[in-house]
């Protein structure tokens, strides 16, 4: 059983379930965790869960649209990671904390 057959043997729903699980983990992490780095990684996780869905459908439908979207998401995620990490570094420098609940000066 070569790789191609393996890939073809996996129904699309498996990819979707995996993607949903990844997204749920990411969402749960985003909502529940306090560490800003973890939250950041959870966002990446959700983005990649979405990417996986795109790819799965792209393969299933024999369409290139999903690939294009994925590239877009990756570009945005890369830019976001650059800006986001810079913000995190600055916050840590100024506040000496990574707990996002303590970074709420704008709230009031």
């Amino acid at each position: 059983m070569d790789l191609n057959a393996l890939v073809h043997g996996v129904p699309v729903s498996w990819y979707l379930v995996l993607s949903a699980m990844l997204f749920a983990i990411g969402a749960a992490g985003f909502v529940l965790r306090r560490n800003i780095i973890t939250v950041f990684m959870c966002i990446e996780l959700m983005l990649n869960a979405v990417n996986l869905t795109f790819i799965a459908f792209s393969h299933e439908l024999k369409s290139v649209h999903g690939h294009i979207f994925t590239f877009f998401v990756m570009v945005v995620a890369a830019a976001e990671a650059a800006v986001g990490l810079a913000i995190i570094l600055t916050v840590f420098k100024n506040r000496s904390t990574l707990n996002i609940d303590e970074v709420s000066t704008l709230k009031n």
Binding site: F30, V31, L106
Partner: protein, 619 residues
């Protein structure tokens, strides 16, 4: 085209000039504007009437379409026929005299320009009322004169009693105007038009019940405007206004608008015997009732006010028994002698430095001879002294009443005796005996006595100079033709002379007797002196329940709880819901994210359930 619009336009112009610029203008300019606008209007009326070929058929002038809505079409139309011609002459003629008189009477008053502006506005609306060629335009004048009446009664607006009297007149008139408005609705439903010529052409073919309803509703309006039972209560109080106003509006012109409306709608009335009887009964009852009250009044203007109510009752009696032209005749002669009585009373009040109580007067014939002589003429005329103006018109009504029902004649002629008595009582109390007041009484200036003399001449000679029934001719379809009965004339003259004689005996020869009679009558005198407590009765039965009902039910009940409750409830609920919802806006990104997740999950579940349901439905 005779350009009838110029007649009311002139006083309107006077009103605009005086109303806008009067405050800054010198008094002379104000008087000139006011007097000239009315005198010119009078001159133009004379010109129109002299150049008109025939007034038998109303000449309608259409200026523009005023209201056009579906089948409802009302034009701004004026017309002139004989009835209008007579009213025009009375309104502008008497109006001119009273304007001239006012320049003297009001000379020292505050708000001189305001007074003349209102007076000119009144002339405009009154002329509009008599010139209008459809009911709606009449109603414009009708409401307008009511407004001016209100403004002028409350002219001394710093005096509480004057503003109260103005309010009373306005509110009581609202009841009457309600009747006129309903009558117009009914006329439009019945005839599909408010134009006089269309309505009167179609009226004979309509059911009697409808015509009766219209006539009775018009009578409600007429009773309000012309101070008939049971709506007469505002007129005596209206004497709070300046005396020229009482003469012009509350004696000569405005209060006769009701009589004019009935005479104008004669076609509707003659086709409804029940309405005619009601008019006659209301008129007769008012004539008697007001005359009895007039017997015991001590304020000179109140005496003449009740006399006006009583004489208006006569006019309605005339209209009610089918003698329309006799009613209009009495309207004209009454305008002469009652305007004179009021202007004379004004002159007396002027002479006595504002005193209105006749017990504080007396002996004025020495001090104010012109007033004495002219008021004498008016008093003769109202008493129906032979060959004075009042003699002719009152006699015409009495004869017509006798032809209708003899008992009405007897009641009316007895009332005529009472009229003669109380007017001459006032005359003797004012001019005979010794002066009982303070200060030195003096005669009035020429601007005041001049109009008095002219009106005195008209009061004496106006009856045969203006033989109204002859002028009107066959204008009214059904005219009660009272046979010329000399006996009836002798009886009415005898009653008039008896009234004068009794007044002379009681107030000149034996002036201690009236008080004894009054005290011996006791409760009866108190009843009459207090005007049968009608005002108090209305206060208890109508005014207080209305006021209290409004206060407790409408204000504290409906407004406070229902209307305010709804408004407050809406506000409070918005606040409560907002109080719950504001917890969502925590400013915490993760709580927002939680809501997004929950929302997404709910959406997914719904889509899943719905999708299965949909798929199941298809299958």
């Amino acid at each position: 085209m005779q350009n009838l619009w110029i007649i009311p336009a002139l006083p309107l112009l006077g009103f605009l000039v005086n109303g806008i610029f009067g405050r800054k203008m010198p008094k002379l300019m104000v008087s000139l504007t006011a007097v000239l606008s009315v005198v010119l209007s009078f001159a133009y009326v004379l010109f129109v009437l002299s150049s008109a070929k025939s007034l038998d058929q109303p000449a309608v002038e259409h200026y523009f379409t005023w209201i056009q809505s579906g089948a409802f079409n009302v034009g701004f139309d004026y017309q002139v026929d004989k009835l209008t011609a007579i009213m025009l002459l009375v309104v502008t003629g008497i109006g001119s005299l009273i304007h001239i008189y006012s320049t003297g009477y009001m000379a020292h008053e505050e708000g001189y320009w305001r007074f003349f502006a209102y007076l000119n506005l009144f002339m405009f609306f009154m002329l509009n009322l008599v010139l209008a060629a459809n009911y709606l335009l009449v109603f414009v004048g009708w409401e307008g004169v009511g407004l001016c009446s209100y403004l002028l009664i409350g002219f001394y607006f710093t005096k509480k009693s004057a503003t109260d009297a103005g309010n009373k007149a306005f509110i009581v008139n609202r009841i009457g105007d309600f009747g006129v408005a309903l009558a117009m609705f009914l006329i439009f439903i019945t005839f599909k038009s408010l134009d006089f010529h269309k309505v009167f052409a179609l009226a004979p073919g309509k059911p009697v019940a409808t015509l009766t309803a219209i006539a009775l509703l018009l009578l409600v309006g007429a009773a309000g405007k012309s101070a008939q039972l049971p709506l007469y209560v505002w007129l005596p109080d209206a004497m709070e206004g300046p005396t020229p106003v009482s003469a012009l509006i509350h004696a000569a012109t405005m209060v006769t608008a009701g009589v004019y409306l009935c005479a104008r709608s004669s076609v509707i009335f003659v086709h409804s015997p029940a309405a005619m009887d009601t008019v006659a009964m209301v008129g007769l009852a008012t004539a008697v009732f007001a005359a009895v009250i007039g017997l015991a009044q001590n304020d000179i203007k109140k005496v003449f006010a009740y006399s006006t109510v009583s004489q208006l009752g006569y006019m309605f009696l005339g209209v009610g028994v089918g003698a329309f032209s006799a009613g209009v005749w009495h309207l004209v002669t009454h305008a002469f002698f009652k305007a004179l009585l009021f202007l004379g009373a004004g002159s007396v009040i002027h002479a006595c430095h504002g005193e209105q109580d006749m017990r504080q007067m007396g002996g004025l014939r020495k001090y104010a001879p012109v007033t004495f002589a002219t008021l004498g003429c008016a008093s003769l005329a109202i008493a129906g002294f032979p060959f004075t103006s009042g003699f002719y018109s009152k006699d015409a009504i009495l004869v017509a009443a006798h032809a209708h029902a003899p008992w009405m004649f007897w009641v009316a002629v007895f009332t005529a005796g009472m009229t003669a008595f109380y007017v001459w009582r006032a005359y003797f109390m004012t001019f005979f005996g010794k002066y009982r007041g303070h200060g030195h009484p003096h005669e009035s200036p020429v601007s005041m006595t001049g109009p008095l003399v002219i009106l005195a001449a008209l009061s004496l000679a106006g009856g045969f100079l203006f033989n109204v029934p002859e002028i009107l001719g066959k204008m009214f379809q059904v005219e009660a033709e009272g046979a010329e009965a000399a006996t009836l004339t002798y009886i009415s003259v005898a009653f008039g002379l008896a009234g004068i004689g009794l007044a002379y005996f009681l107030y000149v020869v034996n002036s201690a007797l009236p008080d004894k009679i009054a005290s011996s009558l006791g409760g009866l005198y108190t009843l009459v002196y207090n005007k049968f407590f009608v005002d108090e009765l209305y206060d208890v039965t109508v005014v207080q329940p209305t006021v209290n009902g409004s206060r407790t039910l409408l204000w504290r009940g409906i407004e406070h709880y229902v209307i305010d409750g709804v408004v407050r409830g809406v506000g409070a609920n918005a606040l409560n819901i907002g109080g719950v919802l504001k917890h969502l806006q925590s400013g915490n990104i993760r709580s927002y994210a939680t809501w997004v997740v929950i929302g997404g999950a709910v959406l997914l579940i719904l889509m899943g359930v719905g999708g299965f349901a949909f798929a199941g439905g298809v299958r």
